[in-house]
């Protein structure tokens, strides 16, 4: 180029540049564009996500040489049968599902009024503050939060201090403590979808219901809840599935109780039986498939 101060016309210099050529090529070839856009996420989803799950599924059908502790790639249904028929696994599965259900119910009951206040009552300023407040616990480490609950529930802890004047006592360590702690951990994941769902219910619908003669509870039952159903299901999927897989919380505040996660953990570690661990891990997956199918039946997933 010469050193003349007048620059070349923008159009001229652009036709030269390779970046422009690529752009022109891409804008003319929609399929190439789509391919480039999707290849990276599809690679991630396919390899890292689906492949890992498939590996788990396959491992469950293998076995372990009890003498050497080596995984043998001979096909067998033994692990699946053990998991399905063993009374230990049945008990722990029922206990885990019970805990997950109770955690979900507690979370929904706590989240509904909080989300309603955030979406329909609070001023826009307070709304922003509350969203941040709900998200804030997620900034802290999971372990720290669980140990905080351990201290709250401990002998002479805050729970006891609060409950004693009313003649109560701290629930101590055990399944109630596990449910309380898990409900606390997953609460943001339940509040946020319900809050988002309520945001999508226009105020005019609440006014219309009241205008037509419905009192507050009637409006909540006939208008708000039915419209909120998909959001509640979405929130419950989080709290239910996260509870099904948890083993750290129950270790820290659950006393001697075991959940499915603990069985997986001991089978991978102490027992060194990866195939059995994989078979146990299939239980929560199967439960979630049933849960999602049931949710689908209600039509709740159509509106997500």
């Amino acid at each position: 180029m010469t050193s003349t101060p007048t620059t070349a016309r923008a159009g001229d210099s652009l036709t030269e540049s390779p970046a422009r050529k690529v752009s022109v090529f891409l804008s003319q070839h929609a399929r190439v564009r789509l391919g480039l856009l999707l290849s990276a996420p599809l690679f991630w989803l396919g390899l890292v996500y689906i492949a890992a799950l498939a590996a788990l599924l396959i491992t469950a059908f293998w076995t372990v040489d009890s003498f050497t502790g080596q995984v043998q790639t001979t096909w067998t249904l033994d692990n699946i049968i053990t998991v399905l028929t063993g009374s230990l696994y049945q008990t722990v599965t029922l206990r885990t599902v019970g805990v997950a259900l109770l955690v979900t119910i507690v979370d929904i009951l706590v989240a509904l009024p909080i989300a309603f206040f955030m979406a329909k009552v609070a001023s826009p300023r307070l709304q922003r503050i509350l969203v941040i407040a709900v998200l804030m616990p997620l900034w802290a480490s999971y372990l720290v939060k669980v140990y905080a609950w351990r201290s709250v529930l401990s002998q002479g802890g805050i729970a006891e201090w609060i409950a004693q004047p009313f003649g109560g006592s701290s629930p101590g360590y055990g399944l109630p403590a596990t449910i309380i702690t898990l409900a606390y951990l997953w609460l943001p994941y339940v509040i946020l979808p319900i809050y988002a769902g309520l945001e999508r219910v226009p105020n005019s619908l609440l006014e219309a219901s009241s205008d037509l003669g419905a009192k507050t509870w009637r409006t909540l039952g006939s208008v708000v809840l039915p419209m909120l159903w998909p959001a509640i299901i979405a929130g419950s999927i989080f709290s239910f599935s996260l509870s099904l897989g948890d083993y750290i919380t129950v270790n820290i505040v659950g006393g001697a109780n075991q959940l499915l996660g603990n069985l997986v953990y001991t089978n991978v570690g102490a027992a060194n039986n990866l195939p059995l661990a994989a078979a146990i891990a299939l239980i929560p997956i199967a439960i979630m498939v049933v849960y999602l199918t049931a949710a689908r039946r209600t039509g709740a997933l159509n509106n997500l």
């Binding site: 226009p202 006014e207 219309a208 009241s210 205008d211 037509l212 003669g213 208008v223 419209m227």
Partner: protein
Amino acid sequence: MTSATPAIRLTGLTKTFGSVNAVDQLDLEIGEGEFFSMLGPSGSGKTTVLRLIAGFELPTSGTVELQGVDVTHRAPFDRDVNTVFQDYALFPHMTVLENVAYGLRVRGVGRAERAERAEAALASVALAGFGGRKPSQLSGGQRQRVALARATVVQPKVLLLDEPLGALDLKLREQMQVELKELQRSLGITFIFVTHDQEEALTLSDRIAVFNHGHIEQLGTPTEIYEAPSSPFVASFVGTSNIFDPSEAERMLGRTSTVSIRPEKIALHTPASKPAAGTVSLPGTISEVIYLGTSTRILVELEGGKRLTVLEQNASSRSALDRRGEMVHARFASADLVALEPVAA
């Protein structure tokens, strides 16, 4: 007003949002069976008044009476008024029939009776047979009718309509205007209609209240509002007006106060012709010609710089466009001039 108890009586009604007086010391009586419009630009307080009557807002001060009964502090579900919302507010998870029957269901009307009454209400808005659909499967005009059916099936004493035709296209809007008027006649109840569309208000109403800054600028029949606007605001908001401020009025018309003249009352003549007795004749030049189909809007720049808008009916097919730059005399009967109250403050 008539001696009978009015359907709605508002006394000293005030609503403050923060430091803004949305409604300021409003006194208003709306008669039984009246089609009453509240007309005004956005932010003039007309919708707030509607919401105060419905009970969605509580007034800062003042009272709302419904057929002589003070309902100021009653919840919306305890008031015998129903609302047609601007966005229709149909319940998306219910069918059309369930929507219409909702008010009856809430009142504990039996299943058979409420289905029958809801069907009848749907038939009255020409939607018989649509009961099984979801609101999302209906067009805008149909949703509008469902909202009307839902609000009228519970037989309110007063129906409140919050810009119900705003979202419809022009053709449909004109059709719905006729249907609204017919519905109001057949039901015989009071309609309170909020709109920012002056033409809609003029077409539909028995009486109109023109709102501005939270108070009523003028209250009267459509003819009174259009023919005798009381203030420059009403004159320019309802229809088009050529307004002469006091100094212009004195210089050109020999009047001492603000006056206005409607564009259709002005005729354009050649300078050579003689003005009739009692007419004002103002010389000027045509600066712009806008063809409107049935009529033509002509802007005339008068000597001295004042611009006049003139509306001429298109009787002949003569092209008006080439009249730009033509010297004309704008003439109108001085009796057609309307004196306006001077602008306060």
